[in-house]
Chain length 791, copies 2
């Protein structure tokens, strides 16, 4: 994966940042009249590549060589969320007028919304689960019957065709929905939710349409027999539900319920989404604590006790609602034994000996290896897809091919490997006889003729000797590659279940091996299946705490923490030696500027003055309307420092203005749209914070606003609307300091000031995300990624 940069390292040395700095600072001496020119130049600069040369390792690829599928390029198209609240005049005014009652009311509404999120997420999960259950039952019952009917007649092609048909049709529907209606609904959705929680605005990720396509799509793909699960999509669904409910309006249906208006900003919405993701995990796995930890581990940077408590509440409500509905559906209302979609069965009598711990660690390492290999294969396939499978119909065709291949390999396996066991020992739902003697059934058919989730349950709980080594081994190999091919198709499905299934199969294989070596020892195959499953999953996703807790909660076994944690640590460390977790790989492929948890090490000698973008386009406190309009039309920036005019005294001439505040693009748009100009606006009482919230989250573009030529001569006072005290940092601050400030406070813009508080640059998320750790053959350092507008 590192060849790209290595090969291109010598190719094309771009002008260094320092040179650019000199060039541009000479430009920035230009007067106000020349501002348009500057902006044009800047835009040109950014539309290409920002390259850099310094003593550190650089990623240098000439412009022509950039193509999709690089791990080392950040896309310029992603914007950030505004997590930092803007305490402008309107905000203070609202707070003063509404007082403490408003705060109490908002707080109660917040709890109520979290309650709703938990309930609605669970209900959606129930619909998905019941649909899959019902449809799969029909499908696999028919298949099993058909096999046993036609095997005697030697017409096995009939059930084979039936299988292919019943796989391809649902997958076709699902993939058409995904490819044509909402491509963002493809895959598990976890990487997208992770990016959103990290503060990156992923377009359309939390919209109702996405939820619809995701829900229908996941039913289609699981019923269609793809090697995928419904858990990842559930997490995404929870996030969408949270974003939708908390806003009290739907842009899709053009309906505003006029409630929860005060939650209409990025800060509040992101908090709700983090609760929704947790509720999704909770519904998917019946793991309320795991849900909270997931949303902390994947999303939150700043630990907020109140938010965490509400998230926990939503999680518990979610698992509870699901439990009530599913237990009623299964005919035991009030029994409350269905806490989550993923029901792996309880491990009641479960214990381990100390000598087993090293074995578990070893299995963890193997899981890490397998996981790294799986990730690499999936990465290569994804890159191939990004480059060559771009047309929508091609994506649909690919999904259908995979569906057909899944049926084919399954059929071949049960046809060629004759693993027969007597009936009755294993609680198989549809025992298929195939070539077995009477009173026996084909074990492989029973693995294939059920949903992957049920197969995991079988591997965990089937009594010893249910499966023989050959069938397990071939199943592992086949499913490993099938899952790697499936994940990333134009269909909504996650990777938890197929990964668990692969791991459980080789875990069970290990238990068979153990039994050969130590025939006396009481090796519980289900235990090894569990450890194998955890190891494989840990090797693929590299999550740690939340995964441990999720597995503990799903299996109901809290005493099994130590083996699990040892396995997961071993898997993570082994896997990390080779590559990154699959979610991070996918995020890097899409060029999202995700901020990691910590700044890269050894970066204390990189300073703000190097990192920042400059020159900065600034505005004055009272600014000409025409200037603002042109600025918005020409530049792609989202935040503008508001500054005093540069000093032009006799004694001191400054080129930069002293910072007064920070105003965002959308605020300017609202000002222009409502024509809040000094010359025309006389109804100041009417200009409230809610006017600015009404348009959230989709603001008009500057082209949609008509400003007359006369209005362009007007002036607007930006001071009541700007953020009057943005966090700033000195040009001499180091990268880790900027990073910490940015990450901890969830900033979007960080103006860089010089010694006299004049704005000389601006740091945004991309400027920080560009610096990344690299490790290669025992060396470690910092690399600078490219930023491109082309991917």
């Amino acid at each position: 994966m590192e060849e790209n940069e290595d090969a291109n390292q010598e190719n094309h040395v771009a002008p260094s940042r320092a040179t650019r700095f000199r060039n541009l600072s000479s430009i920035s001496h230009a007067s106000n009249e020349d501002l348009n020119a500057i902006i044009t130049i800047t835009s040109n600069e950014d539309s290409g590549l920002i390259l850099s040369s310094s003593v550190r390792r650089r990623v240098q690829i000439s412009k022509e060589k950039i193509q999709t599928g690089s791990l080392n390029v950040l896309s310029a198209k992603y914007e950030s969320l505004d997590y930092d609240p803007c305490e402008n005049y309107l905000f203070l005014d609202e707070e003063r007028k509404k007082g403490y009652k408003f705060i109490v009311q908002k707080n109660i509404a917040r709890w109520f919304v979290f309650l709703l999120i938990g309930m609605v997420t669970a209900l959606i999960a129930c619909v998905i689960d019941i649909s899959i259950e019902e449809l799969s039952t029909i499908k696999y019952a028919a298949l099993s019957k058909s096999v046993d009917k036609y095997v005697t007649q030697g017409k096995l092609y009939v059930p084979y065709m039936l299988w292919i048909f019943s796989n391809v049709v649902p997958v076709l529907i699902g993939s058409i929905l995904v490819a044509y209606l909402e491509p963002i609904a493809a895959g598990s959705g976890i990487p997208q939710v992770k990016c959103y929680l990290n503060g990156v605005k992923i377009p359309r990720v939390v919209r109702i349409r996405t939820l619809f396509v995701k829900s229908v799509g996941v039913i289609c793909s699981v019923v269609g027999g793809l090697a995928g699960g419904k858990e990842g999509p559930m997490i995404h669904s929870g996030a969408v539900v949270a974003a939708g409910l908390s806003q009290g309006k739907s842009t899709t249906f053009n309906k505003d319920f006029k409630i929860f208006q005060y939650f209409r900003d990025d800060h509040e919405k992101r908090d709700f989404v983090s609760g929704g993701a947790a509720a999704g995990v909770s519904a998917a796995f019946g793991a309320p604590v795991g849900g909270v930890l997931f949303s902390l581990e994947e999303g939150t940077s700043f630990w907020n006790q109140g938010l965490t408590w509400r998230t926990f509440f939503a999680s518990v409500i979610s698992t509870f609602t699901l439990n009530i509905v599913l237990s009623a559906y299964h005919g035991v209302p009030g029994n409350l034994n269905y806490p989550g979609l993923l029901n792996l069965g309880k491990f009641e009598s479960f214990s381990y000996r100390i000598f087993e711990l090293p074995i578990f660690v070893l299995m963890g390492a193997v899981g890490g290896l397998f996981g790294a290999l799986w990730n690499h294969i999936n990465y290569k396939i994804t890159v191939f897809r990004m480059r060559y499978v771009q047309r929508k119909w091609l994506k649909v065709v690919e999904a259908c091919i995979v569906a057909a291949v899944s049926a084919t390999v399954g059929f071949l396996m049960m046809f060629t490997i004759n693993d027969c066991k007597p009936l009755g020992l294993d609680p198989t739902k549809y025992p298929t006889q195939l070539y077995c003697d009477d009173g026996k059934y084909n074990v492989l058919a029973s693995i294939w003729f059920q949903t992957p989730e049920a197969s995991v349950r079988s591997l965990f709980h089937d009594p010893p000797n249910t499966h023989n080594a050959l069938s397990l081994a071939s199943f592992v190999v086949v499913y490993f590659f099938l899952a790697a091919w499936t994940f990333g198709l134009a269909s909504s499905n996650g990777l938890f279940i197929p990964t668990l299934l692969t791991g459980a199969a080789w875990g069970r294989l290990v238990s068979i091996g153990m039994f050969y070596i130590f025939p006396d020892s009481l090796v519980h195959p289900g235990k090894y299946a569990l450890i194998g499953a955890a190891a494989q999953l840990g090797g693929v996703v590299r999550m740690t705490i939340s995964l441990t807790v999720i597995i503990m909660e799903t299996t109901g076994n809290i005493t099994f923490a130590l083996p699990l944690i040892l396995t997961l640590i071993a898997a993570k460390w082994t896997g990390d030696f080779f590559n990154e977790g699959i979610y991070d790989t996918l995020i890097q492929l899409s060029g999202v500027p995700l901020l990691p948890w910590e700044p890269p090490p050894l970066a204390h000698n990189i300073y703000a003055s190097e990192v920042m973008s400059h020159p900065v386009v600034t505005l004055q406190c009272v600014e000409n309307v025409g200037h603002i309009v042109e600025l918005l039309k020409l530049s792609s920036y989202n935040g503008f420092p508001v500054v005093d005019p540069p000093l032009t005294d006799q004694t001191e001439i400054t080129t930069y203005g002293r910072i007064r505040g920070l105003i965002l693009k959308w605020q300017l748009i609202i000002i222009l749209k409502n024509k809040i100009f000094n010359e025309t606006c006389d109804d100041w009482d009417n200009i409230t914070a809610s006017k600015f919230r009404d348009e959230y989250p989709r603001y008009p573009t500057i082209d949609e606003i008509s400003i007359s030529d006369e209005e362009k001569t007007y002036f607007v006072d930006l001071r009541p609307f700007m953020n009057p005290s943005p966090f700033t940092i000195l040009h001499s601050a180091s990268l880790p300091r900027m990073f910490t400030l940015f990450r901890a406070l969830g900033l979007r813009h960080l103006p860089i000031v010089n010694d006299t508080n004049e704005v000389i640059g601006m740091v945004t998320r991309k400027d920080l995300a560009r610096y990344r750790v690299w490790k290669h053959r025992g060396r470690m350092g910092v690399e600078e990624l490219l930023i491109s507008k082309e991917i």
Copy 2:
């Protein structure tokens, strides 16, 4: 609790902050020669009270009226930890020289230390547990035998005396240790650990002597029959273990192992302590996940994934080690059924019906009420103690009285209430017959003649009808007050167990009531005991997530999340209506400037210029040694902004200097001690970051350093040592913005700058902690606390 301020509100209006500002800013125009005078004035100011008048609600108490036991005064004596790393020249130099290998090595060492922390914490827990177990067995076996021997002779005063004796002697030993050797070891230690993790330096809280006194003290107090538990002290012990192990040296034993030197700063140490506290929780309750959540909920402000992961590791290691040792001690090595000290037994077959949920909520509310009452009683007792029980011998006497009273009420109860049950049903260890018929035993004797922890277990798991209503009711009343009196004595004991015991008793009472009302329903008394215990504990401590998880893990019942969380929410909300949790009350009483999770609401109109302390004592980049010495001798500040000299051009005269960096008191001390002066120092290679770390954590005072008169004329260049890019904020920033910055980044000093980046003030933890929410009869606002040097 609010009479104090209300009564004094009119009394004595001190000069407003604004007036002070005018007075002092005139002083700050003084030249450098007058600096000493300024410092003296400033010190005088601070030694009294800082009062304030504004439109907000103020706490105004005249100086004479301040006394210990007020909830509205912050003590000036607490300092903060330096959580923000200082990226000075030495730091960069070290990083450059040591490179990535150093980072890897440090990282491995970090994991290793967390491993050690988990193991040592568990071993200490084992020693405590086994000692208590053995000593209690001897004691209660003797008592039970003695009662049954002398009751027939009518000489019940003999066992009574024996009981008093066996209570008072251990308590006497424990309280002498606490009162005379290490008073900080009193109580549970949780409030102190919480303050430490919040960033407040609590003297001696993580020292070896504290650990010793705590460990021996907790054995004494539990064996002495006090209504206290060993769980809180375990958490404190874990914290001390972590702080000790991570430093690789012991000041107490004057031994430096020359390892882990790179962990010798507040930042690293605090991280380790947070892991140690989690390991303590894990050992105490067998709750590794709960441990992590506890240390997050109580301590961390900035979610750091790596740290959390290591914390989890330490927690799991801790419960695992404990498990191995205790299972070996109990004669079943390798069985691993002893995950924690608190063994409440497993609830295997445990389910609830939906109609029970409202009952649980109601029980939660009752728990909140009881908890609030308990807290109020304990608060009143604590205030009384702070005012009148100040002498050491008085404290010892009080502890002994409580020990004697505990024995007396227990004796009276079993003597007067004749609750007899047939032998054999209840697994009582020492059935005491007392006045019962043959073949029966006295239930109250069996509750009293065991450790409180065993009593909780009995109440959870004893079969129905073991206890009658009268004995439970009287037990609840007695134990409620006894526990409130006990907590806060000069002895090491926590409140978890007595609170759980009280709650379990009234929970069981509820189940008896339920049985009378719905005789048909299958009311499991143990379940109600658990809910009652959770409600009572939630009402007292008001912890939420971590407590839920701890109870789930301790009882091994993960499906019981919803009832627990509903109960705990109800308890917290009910309790919060009346007062704060007991830990927060104790922290407020001691005047520790704890920073809450969020800034007070409605405080956006309070600005930095109002909040900051000023004038600020600043240093210049190259500073006179004599000046530094005098400054350190006269002022009590811990951080000094390093500034450029004020401009005295013809055109511009500034009174303040432009900020260049921030230097801490201890750094100045090290510079003076090592005589790193421009005139004398020619061996710059010798001055490394490790020289500054060697003295950590106890630096010499300025009086211990001799500086000759000649040296006082020398100069020192502070630039290589200062933090060159401290976080600063504009004078116009609001209180919530400052608060967020301070809290998220764990700052100690926040210099306030004016528009041209000149330092005009300084904000420290106390300045922010002073602003607090108040709620009273449906109104809400912000109050300003006093800061006093007298408490």
